[in-house]
């Protein structure tokens, strides 16, 4: 079994929390991708960001990860603006898992890749110590990637690769993990595996997970909070329970089609199915 980590195991300080204040972002002038968005994310919450394609979900988490230059509005991490952190400090607080299916993986072995997640903790000579190896091994155990530790990432299947990317982020030991569509393009079994892995990470380390997803049911079943975007504007940001109270109308605003509610699952939360014949092609 995995050892439960104490809070002091975090390299960062106590209670990391994320605050997004009046964030506006655009690639081209006059066409905001994210429009005046304000959210407070507390430590230990799991958030799902939902919305149509092109509604600014991925851009939002890229902004939080500081991969896009924020010009208007601000993102605060532990009461300090993210722009004030050095790259290393930022990497110790916040990990980012990109969409695995969109890239050719590098030719490193899985172990090499996961170890590279320890980069922000290595000093100048850049040698990975025994501590780093232990943490990497732990991350691989947590994500079930040990069996192919010495295989090249080029030889992995989509589900395996996604888990390796997550393992790399886990090895970073951050309080916040940002995931961009971790289960898209995966079959049900692998989707379930990824979800189980993420649950385990959240349970073991208390990591704040912020996930971009198209799977509304998984989002509503598993996450504690939901952020819904329509054309860069937030239409709902808060606890999942609150979303469920008004789910049908919110979902139709988000996706532009009506959803059918199917009540009664094991967790007690309802499922939503798009109604047939809504969209005329």
């Amino acid at each position: 079994m995995h050892k439960r980590l104490e809070r002091t195991d975090y390299p960062g300080e106590c209670m990391p929390s994320l605050q997004i204040a009046n964030l506006t972002f655009n690639y081209e002038p006059g066409k905001p991708v994210i429009d005046n968005l304000s959210v407070v994310i507390n430590n230990g919450e799991t958030w799902s960001i939902i919305g149509k394609n092109g509604s600014g979900k991925s851009t939002l988490i890229r902004c939080i990860a500081r991969l896009e230059p924020v010009k208007r509005g601000a993102v605060f991490l532990d009461t300090k603006e993210i722009l004030d952190y050095s790259s290393i400090e930022m990497a110790r607080k916040c990990a980012y898992v990109p969409q695995a299916t969109l890239r050719i993986p590098p030719s490193f072995t899985v172990l090499e890749y996961v170890l590279m997640g320890r980069y922000p903790y290595c000093g100048f000579p850049m040698r990975y110590g025994s501590d780093d190896r232990k943490i990497a091994a732990e991350a691989m155990e947590l994500t079930d990637t040990v069996p192919f530790a010495h295989r090249s990432m080029r030889t992995l299947s989509g589900g395996e690769l996604q888990r390796v990317f997550i393992a790399g982020a886990v090895a970073q030991r951050t309080a916040i993990m940002l995931l961009d569509e971790p289960v898209s393009f995966l079959d049900s079994m692998h989707q379930e595996m990824i979800h189980a892995t993420l649950d385990r990470i959240h349970r073991e380390y208390g990591t704040t997970l912020i996930t971009v997803t198209h799977d509304i049911n998984a989002a509503l079943q598993r996450s504690t909070h939901v952020l819904a975007l329509v054309a860069g504007k937030q239409v709902y940001a808060g606890a999942t329970q609150g979303f469920l109270n008004d789910a049908a109308s919110l979902l139709s605003t988000i996706y532009g089609i009506t959803f059918e509610k199917i009540a009664g699952s094991s967790s007690g939360r309802a499922f939503f199915m798009p109604q047939k014949g809504e969209v005329v092609v």
Binding site: S87, A95, S107, M116, S152, T155
Partner: protein
């Protein structure tokens, strides 16, 4: 055999080759042999040794620059020559010669300064283009580099054309390339810059690994990619400029050696870096030794031998040695 052992073997064999190469020539000279005449000793120390050292360090520098460019652009075809930076340097060096600037500034020959300015100009043009377009598309970048390369090559040909046809020998070094050197002046005109460049590159080797995984992952892991890029570009521009000023374009090495060392050693740059430098140096030393001995006293252009040696070896690796995935993909 583990990577460490293989690297040890490589450094050992390259040491032997570098020690042995100056003994070979039109006659075999063993250094420290008491029977040697002073002429033989002079040939050994003033002609062969500096030449072998120039070849080794030029090969090492050019192949390291190739490795850096391939990682920076995540493209197997990137190298100082395809991106036009070496052509810029050649052009700068040739322009200095055509305009008749000689002499030195702070001990650095005018040609070296000209070549450095040329390569810096090419780098700035390339990145100016990229930042103007806000282009992150590596392929566009590579194509822009190829266009620049053609631009500078044609400028070089233009210089040759407008200058007297009889002057063409002047700039033949920057059309053909070669490592001929007498004395240590040529070596010392680029070695200090190369050492600085190698220190910078070796300090950024782990960051190069991260760049191979993609800019976003690298950045989210705390790699200051902007700083890494600027440092590496500065180092490579400096190295390419100063090496090309002495040796002219020896293009094949920077493209092929990084692939060979990555597939024979490791994809991790911490291993691939030293392996690339050593094997690039040794390849050029061997090529030059062949070039100056086969039909001595006439010499074959070293670029011909480099390609003749490197291309079949590279093809063999491409088709037979598929260690970690495909050798040519980055």
């Amino acid at each position: 055999m583990s990577v460490g052992k293989r690297l040890l073997l490589l450094s050992f064999s390259s040491m032997i080759i570098v020690i042995f190469a100056p003994c070979i020539g039109m006659e075999f000279i063993v250094p420290f042999d008491l029977k040697n005449t002073t002429l033989q000793m002079e040939i050994f120390t003033r002609l062969r040794l500096p030449r072998v050292l120039v070849a080794f360090f030029a090969g090492a520098g050019l192949s390291l620059c190739g490795m850096v460019f391939q990682a920076l652009f995540r493209n197997p075809l990137a190298d100082p020559f395809t991106l036009g930076i070496a052509s810029g340097a050649s052009c700068g060096a040739a322009l200095t010669v055509v305009l008749g600037f000689t002499g030195a500034l702070l001990g650095v020959p005018a040609v070296t300064i000209g070549a450095f300015l040329g390569s810096a100009c090419a780098t700035l043009l390339l990145f100016g283009f990229a930042s103007y377009r806000r282009s992150t598309d590596k392929l566009t970048f590579l194509l822009a580099g190829v266009a620049l390369s053609f631009l500078f090559s044609s400028l070089l040909m233009f210089f040759q054309y407008i200058s007297d046809p009889h002057d063409s020998y002047y700039i033949i070094r920057w059309l053909m390339g070669g490592v001929e050197a007498i004395g240590y002046k040529a070596l010392f005109s680029f070695l200090p810059f190369e050492i600085i460049g190698i220190i910078i590159i070796f300090s950024q080797l782990p960051q190069l690994d991260h760049l191979l995984t993609g800019d976003d992952i690298a950045q989210s892991r705390g790699v200051d990619i902007k700083r890494t890029r600027i440092l590496l570009l500065l180092a490579t521009t400096m190295m390419v400029g100063t090496i090309v000023a002495v040796c002219g374009p020896i293009g094949f090495i920077g493209l092929i050696v990084p692939h060979i060392s990555r597939s024979l050693f490791s994809w991790k740059h911490l291993w691939a870096g030293p392996a690339t430098a050593l094997s690039g140096g040794v390849l050029l030393v061997i090529a030059d030794t062949i070039a100056r001995t086969v039909i001595a006293p006439t010499e074959i252009p070293v670029g011909v031998i480099t390609a003749l040696l490197g291309a079949p070896f590279f093809l063999w690796i491409l088709f037979h040695h598929n260690g970690n995935g495909k050798v040519h993909e980055l």
